[in-house]
């Protein structure tokens, strides 16, 4: 780079700004130009679209979209935390807040938007926030933790719903206030809005539509206390988030005399050059595009970034087409509800017709807008957006099947025929990066990509919002198959089979040994090897699930099985961070006698264990050394406890509410049923852990709808829900069958669990399985309720085998001295405890002494240790 290289100055390092830098780098412009970035925020560009994932555990660093080393590698100078305050177009200089001036030859504005805060009195009170930057989120989180139990979001659009989800996630009672008569007024129509509202209300959020905020009332200290609404009602609230739309940040441009649009936005032409200064560009949310619109989505911003980079390169010769407008299609998951809209969603075209499918009970609403000649013009999907990936690219063409069939749910007469293969090559598959089906196929054929990650890297498809990944995967696999490449769906480097296929092989050939399975069915290169950490526990679990049926030893640590189990199963306890173990005795249904409680207390006291009530209605005892496990379990088994399988991919707990025995609302004995179910399925090894709960009435105090199989009492019996999940991606369970008798309930669960165990992938919870398996819930219902595959007898027989052969693993272990031999810290010094497992006090109990693990062990006197090892090391 020379001292008099052309200078490009970029104002704003947001998503679009970063994309612009990448586009410069790709064209080699960072080598020929000196590039400086002036940014207001304290951190390099990050993924604003995924901002809300901060509340589900994504760290600010993980949100970064600035690849490590990128700026250095391309010699780009980035100044953080110092916004530009003035542009002097005469002298071509910009000045930052700290007073530094930077000369430019080309200036690019990518200053984004600011959240619009309606002018309500009190809007600046303590506890009022906006939702745009990581700093906003950190501030909301801190305030919510310290000062709030209730929160209100002003604005029921896309961002408002995200913010509301975040507040609810922070544990606040959450209200949404939307001035329009429905939620997401821009994206969805009335029908979609009411489906959305039903679902969101069902999640416990309070929705107020058709009203505006009138005043924010504060307490004596100036902190938010309530919000008065335009209909004279009032919401008591401790925190307010304004999310009532965004406005382009065009003030700098205005001050510099650049043209701005009537409703804001720096006016640019098709090359993204400002209309009255060819040396200045504007891209992203701060710009008003040549079609007169300001785009509030990231995909059009990316296109503008590419366009501007091309235009700058064109000064050096590259020809370029411009940016004249973009598709506003979106697919989002808001509060867990899928919402998508594409094309002419509101049916604005003349003579267009609607085809609508609506199921308010399930919160599903789908509308397609079609022209009289059958051309698909657009649509709205709420609650079930699976078909979005296909429908959007079909927009503008006459779909190969009728529109009625396109909106019907699978199983209700919709043909499965319509796959991504039906799409034309010019169909845009990835909206975020504007990648067509043709380019994806090209990545496979011309660029020789052979996996989805490779195609992602090559085309960028799928690396934005991620909503196209499903279709992308199908396309890549189809293309590979067409090329004669076989796609490796194998479990791991040792097997070409999936878990479900291995299950069938083990079941039908009655293979009871992993080594035999690997040697007979493994990949050539893996035969007679030691396998790997993926397939060993998987096969161990399959053998354990089928043990009584195929004639394998039921005890999971016998013979070869011992070598296959995950560490936790191997010691029948859960390893903790310092190598000690936790102990979880089974407490079926969460019911426990005072005597047993006392035993747990005594054992914990005598062994110095830390005790905690778990989220699964039982008690965890932490901090046992491996050599203490048998003694501790000896005491517990004597008192009538058994293994709780907290270590296994197996049934964990069946939680219960107190039910009709005590509760004034209860309609069935939920505790009794929970105990019955827990005892029936205890010890059942499965692809992933299994959790359950039984509630005594529709108030659902046991949270059964968040479980793999959940049961809710009705006046007429029991409702069975399946596929629920807490964890990182919560899913509400689906109703499988209603008003079942005790016997019907148990029979259905037997079949459901055995069908899941048979067909699920390794580490696939029922929730994920139910979404993945072809035909989904309807198919599973057909199989387990209507016996469409004629499998039910066999499924029930498998479960009967399991129930009849269940034995407590800890009792069995204690009864056999040979099995106890593994419970030592050191094979050459069986009586010596591990000196690195130590504890320090914490709140009247103990916690691991982690300092000890940071340093190497003290050099103990060799003689003393030789003594301890006496016998063991005798030659």
């Amino acid at each position: 780079m020379t001292g008099n290289a052309q200078r490009i100055v970029l104002i704003g390092h947001g998503m679009v700004g970063q994309r612009f830098l990448e586009a410069l780098a790709e064209r080699g412009l960072t080598r020929t130009h000196r590039v400086t970035v002036l940014a207001e925020e304290p951190r390099p560009a990050y993924d604003r679209v995924q901002l809300t994932s901060y509340f589900s555990g994504t760290s600010p660093d993980e949100l970064s979209v600035t690849p490590e080393g990128f700026l250095d590698e391309h010699g780009i100078e980035l100044h953080l935390n110092d916004p530009v305050v003035a542009i002097d177009r005469e002298t071509r200089r910009v000045t930052t807040e700290s007073g530094v001036t930077h000369p430019y030859d080309t200036l690019v504005l990518a200053t984004g938007s600011y959240p619009f805060v309606p002018p309500v009195p009190g809007k600046d009170a303590d506890g009022c926030f906006v939702y745009r930057t990581i700093e906003d989120l950190l501030a909301i989180e801190e305030y919510a933790k310290k000062h709030a139990t209730t929160g209100t979001v002003v604005g029921g659009g896309l961002l408002g719903l995200e913010a509301a989800g975040a507040l609810q996630g922070l544990g606040l009672d959450t209200h949404i206030v939307e001035f329009a008569p429905r939620l997401m007024p821009v994206q969805v129509d009335e029908g979609g809005g009411s489906a959305l509202r039903r679902t969101i209300t069902g999640m416990g959020l309070e929705v107020h539509t058709g009203v505006g905020g009138k005043e924010i009332k504060t307490d004596a200290d100036g902190a938010v206390r309530a919000m008065a609404l335009s209909d004279d009602s009032e919401i008591a609230t401790d925190l307010v988030v304004f999310s009532a739309g965004v406005r382009p940040r065009d003030q700098l441009a205005r001050d510099a005399g650049l043209d701005v649009g009537e409703r804001g936005g720096v006016a640019v032409d098709e090359q993204c050059r400002t209309t009255n200064d060819p040396a200045v560009f504007a891209i992203g949310e701060c710009a008003q595009a040549a079609d007169g619109r300001v785009y509030g989505l990231v995909a059009p911003g990316y296109e503008m970034a590419e366009t501007a980079a091309k235009a700058i390169a064109a000064e050096d010769g590259e020809a370029c087409d411009g940016f004249s407008g973009a598709d506003l299609s979106t697919k989002l998951k808001l509060l867990g509800v899928g919402v998508a809209s594409f094309g002419d969603a509101h049916g604005a075209a003349d003579d267009c017709l609607d085809v609508v499918y609506s199921d308010s009970r399930a919160g599903i609403y789908k509308k397609l807008v079609v022209a009289p000649d059958g051309t698909l013009l657009g649509g709205v999907l709420v609650g079930d957006t699976d078909s979005y990936g296909l429908l959007r690219p079909l927009t503008g063409s006459v779909p190969p099947v009728s529109p009625e069939q396109l909106v019907l749910p699978a199983g209700a007469g919709a043909p499965a025929a319509l796959g991504p293969s039906a799409l034309p090559d010019e169909a845009v598959i990835c909206n975020c990066h504007n990648v067509t089906k043709g380019s994806i196929r090209g990545a496979v054929t011309d660029h020789e990509c052979t996996t989805v990650p490779e195609v992602k890297k090559c085309t960028k498809a799928g690396s934005g919002c991620g909503s196209c990944v499903k279709v992308l995967t199908t396309l890549v696999n189809d293309e590979l198959e067409a090329q004669g490449v076989t796609i490796d769906k194998g479990l791991c480097g040792c097997f070409t089979y999936t878990r479900a296929e291995l299950y069938e092989i083990v079941r039908t050939l009655r293979i009871t040994s992993y080594a035999a399975l690997l040697d007979s069915h493994g990949r050539e290169e893996a035969k007679r090897s030691d396998g790997c950490e993926v397939c060993k526990p998987t096969v161990a679990s399959i053998i354990a699930s089928l043990a009584p049926t195929i004639g394998a030893e039921g005890y999971v640590l016998d013979g070869e099985q011992a070598a296959l189990q995950d560490t936790n199963d191997h010691f029948l306890a859960n390893m903790q961070k310092n190598g000690s173990y936790s102990i979880v005795p089974r407490i079926p249904g969460g019911e426990i006698t005072p005597e047993k409680l006392i035993v747990i207390g005594e054992v914990a006291r005598d062994f110095g264990l830390y005790t905690k009530i778990t989220g699964g209605q039982r008690i965890d005892l932490f901090g046992a050394r491996v050599d203490q496990l048998p003694q501790i379990w000896g005491r517990l088994v004597d008192a009538g406890f058994e293994s709780g399988h907290a270590y296994g991919k197996a049934l964990r707990t069946v939680k219960s509410c107190v039910g009709w025995t005590w509760c004034r609302y209860g309609v069935q004995d939920s505790v009794k049923m929970a105990i019955q179910l827990e005892l029936r399925y205890r010890g059942l090894r499965s692809p992933h852990k299994l959790k359950s709960a039984v509630s005594g009435c529709a108030r659902e105090c046991a949270e059964a709808q968040s479980k793999d199989f959940g049961v809710i009492a009705t006046a007429g019996g029991w409702n069975l829900y399946v596929g629920g999940n807490g964890g990182a991606t919560p899913r509400h369970a689906d109703l499988l069958a209603q008003d079942l008798s005790d016997a019907e309930l148990v029979r259905l669960i037997d079949r459901f669990l055995m069908f899941y165990i048979r067909t699920a992938d390794r580490l696939e919870r029922t929730s994920v399985w139910l979404e993945r398996i072809e035909g989904g819930l309807d198919h599973v219902r057909d199989v387990v309720v209507h016996d469409s595959l004629g499998l039910c007898d066999e499924l029930e027989a498998l479960m009967a085998d399991h129930v009849a052969n269940y034995r407590d693993e800890w009792a069995e272990t204690l009864a056999d001295p040979d099995r106890l031999r593994r419970f030592v810290s050191f094979v050459n010094a069986p009586g010596t405890p591990d000196p690195t497992v130590q504890f320090v006090p914490e709140r009247d109990q103990v916690k691991p002494d982690l300092n000890l693990l940071q340093i190497r062990p003290l050099d103990a006197s060799e003689a003393a240790l030789d003594n301890a090892l006496e016998g063991a090391s005798a030659r």
């Binding site: 480097g493 080594a515 290169e525 893996a526 007679r528 090897s529 030691d530 396998g531 790997c532 950490e533 060993k536 526990p537 070869e560 011992a562 070598a563 296959l564 995950d566 560490t567 936790n568 191997h570 010691f571 390893m575 961070k577 310092n578 190598g579 031999r821 593994r822 810290s825 050191f826 094979v827 050459n828 010094a829 010596t832 591990d834 000196p835 690195t836 497992v837 982690l850 693990l853 940071q854 190497r856 062990p857 003290l858 050099d859 103990a860 060799e862 240790l865 030789d866 301890a868 090892l869 063991a872 090391s873 005798a874 030659r875």
Partner: protein, 116 residues
């Protein structure tokens, strides 16, 4: 050399700075798994026996967490080389060289073993 049929127990030994050090009997180990052993200087080693009857030893300390747990990881082979996956955060270590397969910067001590 013929293996004396009357010799029923084989011992597993480790080479330390001051010569071979006997640890335990081969039958104390489970094929496909590991066990921890304490050395005279207080160090801990993780000893493994693979399916084919070969023994390996590496340091027992998991460098990623500081916990002395590698002996309790799962054994496997990748490209014909034996490894153990740490039971805590699952990083894999080559049993012959101690090299971490998931982080080029990390190598732990590996020991030479023999059985006789």
């Amino acid at each position: 050399m013929t293996l004396a049929p009357e010799r029923i127990t084989l011992r597993v030994e480790l080479r330390l700075d001051r010569g071979w050090h006997s640890i335990c009997e081969l039958s104390d180990l489970t094929p496909g798994r590991g066990a921890a052993a304490l050395l005279p200087n207080g160090e801990q080693v993780a000893l493994f026996l693979d399916r084919a009857g070969r023994t390996y030893a590496i340091a027992n300390r998991d460098p990623f967490t500081g916990a002395y747990v590698l002996s309790r990881g799962l054994l496997g082979s990748a490209a014909g080389r034996p490894f153990v996956a740490s039971p805590l955060l699952k990083q894999r270590f080559d049993l012959e060289t101690g090299r971490c397969l998931d982080d080029d910067e990390v190598t732990i001590r590996a020991y030479t073993t023999r059985t006789l």
